[in-house]
């Protein structure tokens, strides 16, 4: 449960006023269709806040997280953002887990001069409005979709020497669609051919019919941008159907549950690009993994946990550099100037579109373990 960790944050609420606490909103999908993503981020946030507060806070001020549930709904996300900015008067909002619910708040953040930091909204639209202008107050912790797609395509065409690939994307997520598009572009540019393009919709459980179609197109490789919940099932069902070619995906795959869902054996010969790897011996990462599983009774962190965690540190770093914990304008400038900040999910430098330039890691599954394959810089 997540009832326990509230005490710490609420304690500081009593000490009142804006003076000695830093109010940060968390506008997350805590219920509704993608509740598991929002909850994953919340866990990461809670851990980070606990660590920071226990070590004295930021400039002596404790962080107070005001968590709001947006029910995985854009309208609710808007409401929640308005509440956080107008009522709670937070300095920054972390959220939301999905791009759509992040976009829903972008305008409000700009209008109210409040930072919006989306932990996992990977669509380019989050930080850049439809008019092509950068949303002044909006940032993100994750890299954007096209980057990962490119990395995956280069890996397939180069390292694996694939000529014919199939793409099987989650059509309910712009994340997956974005990845699919950039994969296709890069892959074809590298001389490959996409022989089959299929889609599924999040929450599907039976993929056999489409897999049968893909199988008859005879690809040498299948790119599956999507989230682990479905990907696990897809890989399992595909292997059962005798599809033995390599699969590849992106950070959405990253969860310890993927191994359980697909089965260790089925996962052999599959690859993913990721923000980080829990197996990575890197010190920051291992420290995070240890304290996370300590706090959450042995659970191993996934990408959402890590991004939630990083979002807090990302923000705190900017606050420290801005020398001010409440002036959002100064903080956003500091955020925009972030350079070589070492986080769990990579070393971050923010570009002109408010997107972090981070390296991506390519991992391979071997007997249920992620094995580090290569690191790709942008």
């Amino acid at each position: 449960g997540c009832g326990g960790e509230k005490a710490g944050t609420e304690g500081s609420k009593d000490s009142g006023g804006g003076g000695d606490t830093i109010k940060i909103g968390a506008n997350l999908e805590l219920s509704g269709a993608v509740a598991s993503y929002g909850q994953g981020i919340a866990e990461g946030i809670d851990l980070a806040v606990e660590e920071i507060n226990n070590s004295g806070g930021v400039d002596g001020k404790k962080i107070e997280i005001i968590k709001v549930d947006n029910k995985s709904d854009a309208a609710e996300a808007t409401n929640a953002a308005i509440k956080l900015t107008n009522q709670d008067k937070v300095t920054a909002i972390i959220g939301a887990a999905t791009s759509g619910n992040s976009v829903a708040q972008a305008q409000i953040a700009n209008d109210n001069k409040t930072i919006l930091l989306s932990p996992s909204g990977t669509s380019p639209n989050v930080t850049v409005g439809t008019n092509g202008k950068v949303n002044e107050f909006v940032f993100r912790t994750s890299f954007i979709d096209p980057f990962q797609g490119t990395v995956a395509a280069n890996f397939a065409a180069g390292d694996l020497n694939i000529k014919n690939a199939a793409i099987y994307a989650d059509n309910a997520s712009d994340y997956a669609k974005g990845l699919a598009a950039s994969f296709k572009e890069t892959f074809e540019a590298a001389g490959g051919k996409v022989v089959s393009e299929e889609s599924y919709v999040a929450k599907d459980t039976d993929f056999r019919s489409t897999l049968t179609r893909i199988k008859s197109a005879n690809p040498e490789f299948i790119f599956i941008p999507g989230y682990y919940e479905e990907v696990g099932l897809i890989i399992k069902q595909a292997r059962e159907m005798g599809i033995t070619v390599p699969f590849m995906g992106a950070d959405g795959w990253d969860s310890p549950i993927l191994v359980d869902l697909a089965g260790a054996e089925a996962l052999n010969n599959t690859f993913l690009t990721n923000h980080y790897s829990a197996q990575d011996p890197d010190e920051t990462i291992q420290k995070f993994v240890t304290s996370f599983s300590k706090k959450y009774s042995g659970k191993s962190p996934d990408a959402f946990n890590a991004l939630g965690y990083d979002s807090v540190y990302f923000l705190v770093d900017a606050m420290k550099r801005a020398g001010d914990t409440s002036d959002a304008t100064k903080i956003k400038d500091a955020l925009a100037e972030t350079k070589d900040l070492s986080l769990v999910t990579g070393v971050v430098t923010v570009d002109e579109f408010h997107n972090p330039i981070k390296s991506a890691t390519v991992l391979e599954h071997k007997d249920g373990k992620q094995v580090f394959k290569s690191k790709v810089n942008p």
């Binding site: 219920s31 909850q39 459980t205 056999r208 019919s209 059962e240 869902l261």
Partner: protein
């Protein structure tokens, strides 16, 4: 070959729908309540089975029985606490209560264990048979057989046994049933027990077959099962079976044609078309009110 494979895919998918729809249709048949919480009982069944297998190391069949028993009790409790009071209320009030209950169960489960999915352990070995290039998994054969057996069993219970007759009497006129000496409360409890046990069983089978379970897993299959039940003629037990299979095959064919994104839409279009020509479902008797 590909098409035979697809047909088999469709039948396996459909038999899962059918399995859930059986309990749905049974409860509906007796008390005319769209028990939206049925999907949640299904979810509870899946989790009970999961904890039984992964936590206590029970085998598949003991876990299945345990899940069915827990769900039977759970279903009876739901009826006792929430629906009994509403016997004389409008059906729509009962429907809203069912929706509320289904949300409540989902979020209580999330409160206690979070929303993240869980992977079902391999409790039931799965072999894939290769017949002339067509793959059939032993699990899907099992599920299909289980749903057929359960359908026959249910049909027998409802139409041939005393409790079944009592159920049908209660479904038509509760007061008149009382006057026949039928204990209406017991009968309805029995209905919920059986229907919920079926949902529990479906949950465990679903878990084993699809591996992934999570607190919101009941929503979509619940809805699909409801559609299947309506398609076949809600309240009619063989209808649930046929409705489930039709739905499964239609969805598969649509995906097989490359329109997987339109799969659900196609399922609903078929549903609406069938209803337009057979307003009470495939097997439903269009019993018009006698004037």
């Amino acid at each position: 070959m590909e098409w035979i494979q697809q047909l088999i895919n469709g039948i396996s998918l459909g038999s899962i729908y059918a399995l859930i729809a059986l309990g749905y249709t049974m409860v509906y048949g007796i008390i005319k309540l769209i028990n939206f919480a049925h999907g949640e009982v299904f979810m509870i069944g899946a989790f009970v089975g999961f904890y039984a297998i992964a936590g206590w190391g029970l085998g598949f069949f003991p876990a299945l029985l345990l899940a069915m028993a827990v769900c039977a009790i759970f279903g009876v409790l739901i009826e006792r606490i929430a629906y009994r009071r509403l016997r004389n209320a409008t059906r729509i009030a009962a429907l809203i209560t069912a929706i509320g209950l289904s949300l409540l169960i989902q979020y209580v489960v999330i409160y206690f264990r979070g929303a993240q999915p869980e992977a079902y352990p391999d409790a039931l070995s799965n072999k894939t048979f290769d017949l002339f290039g067509v793959q059939i998994s032993s699990q899907s054969i099992l599920i299909l057989s289980v749903s057929i057996v359960l359908m026959i069993l249910l049909q027998f219970i409802v139409h041939r046994t005393k409790i079944g007759k009592a159920m049908r009497a209660v479904s038509h006129d509760m007061d008149a049933a009382r006057l026949m000496g039928i204990n209406v409360n017991t009968t309805i409890s029995a209905t919920f027990a059986i229907g919920s046990a079926l949902a529990g069983a479906a949950g465990v089978f679903f878990g084993v077959y699809y591996t992934k379970i999570e607190p919101l897993m009941g929503i979509i299959p619940g809805l699909k099962a409801f559609v299947a039940a309506v398609l076949g003629g809600i309240g009619i037990i063989p209808g649930a079976m046929v409705g489930g299979l039709v739905l499964g095959v239609v969805e598969t064919i649509v995906s097989a044609l490359g329109y997987s994104l339109w799969r659900d839409a196609a399922a609903f279009i078929i549903l609406i078309l069938i209803l337009l020509f057979r307003p009470s479902g495939i097997f439903g008797k269009n019993a018009r009110e006698k004037v």
